[in-house]
Symmetry: C2
Subunit: 167 residues, 2 copies
DNA sequence: TCCTAGTGGTTCAAGTTTTAAACAATACCT
DNA sequence: AGGTATTGTTTAAAACTTGAACCACTAGGA
């Protein structure tokens, strides 16, 4: 197959995307860092836990949801555990598994940070988009996710894969 | 002002975006790392230089384009210079400034990597999008960029800020 | 039962990157 | 001249990531 290049329109879209994504990640990260002392990834760990039933999740599942290696997750959870925002628990049915549980303090931190985070997302993103564009964005990002993951579910958010191998 | 929360639709869009962005960054980074031995940021440095007039750019301008600190850029350029992909040059008119110049080897590396990168972007993103969506994506990302930068130009790509303080 | 393969998680060492603060060398302005 | 702002680099510390090695346990036969 000869090289497939981006069309001019695609080129423009890609550049716009790269610029926006980099700026956005930077902005969000900075704000979260200032407000909670932790980077976006760690905030996401807390957020995912907060939405899981009983605020708990297997390490492996959590890693899969966040699309990061288990090693990386262990590192992050260790830090969060040191800060008292997360607690580890064993599992009766399978003694290998560890379960990360969001502590009350972790939940408190999350709730304290949420308004600022939401405000940030609003001003950075949604204040500038029409309702149609919001829909389009979801659609487009969904397509990209499916494209990369090759049709397998369990992305970050939405149809969360609770009830997978859990007992 | 009471807290402004995301509407359900915005919530969905935001989640979809976060997931896609993280996956995409990961994919691109991994592919570039495998193919060129350098992360996306460094590839971007080369790419920006390659499009600049005479393939050269002031450190400060480059940093601004890429939205990174000068310190971070210095680090990156040093690495690229050690690999022979970039060369530093002084400036006659202002002896403080350093100019990063893309070497022929750097250009060669870039050109060698470009096809694989393009292919990756195509399969990961554009193969899944309709022409309308491509336009929408550009539009949306442009709006986000403007939202964050508060109407100031000079984003990453497109209307590049050559001719700023140079000379 | 015992053996083997596979899973779940952590640890370890190494390397990379990031940050922030401090510097040195100019340039600019009055 | 003298004070101030810019440019870029350096520095040391910290944070993060990776990959391989590793332990403990589970599962699935023979």
């Amino acid at each position: 197959m000869t090289t497939r290049w981006l069309s001019p329109a695609e080129q423009r879209a890609w550049r716009a995307y790269i610029g926006a994504a980099s700026l956005l990640e930077d902005t969000i990260d900075r704000q979260l860092q200032a407000e909670t002392g932790m980077p976006h990834l760690y905030y996401s760990i807390l957020a995912m836990l907060s939405e899981a039933p009983d605020r708990r999740l297997r390490m492996t599942d959590l890693a899969e949801i966040l699309k990061i290696t288990r090693s990386r997750l262990t590192y992050g959870v260790t830090r969060l555990a040191n800060d008292g925002l997360v607690r580890r628990e064993g599992c009766h049915s399978d003694k290998r598994t560890q379960i990360a549980v969001l502590t009350d303090e972790g939940m408190a931190v999350l709730e304290r940070a949420a308004p600022g985070h939401a405000e940030q997302v609003m001003t950075a993103v949604f204040d500038r988009l029409t309702p149609e564009q919001v829909g389009q964005l979801e659609e487009i990002c969904g397509a990209i996710t499916r494209g990369i993951q090759g049709e397998n579910p369990g992305a970050c958010g939405e149809d969360l894969p609770w009830r997978r191998r859990s007992s």
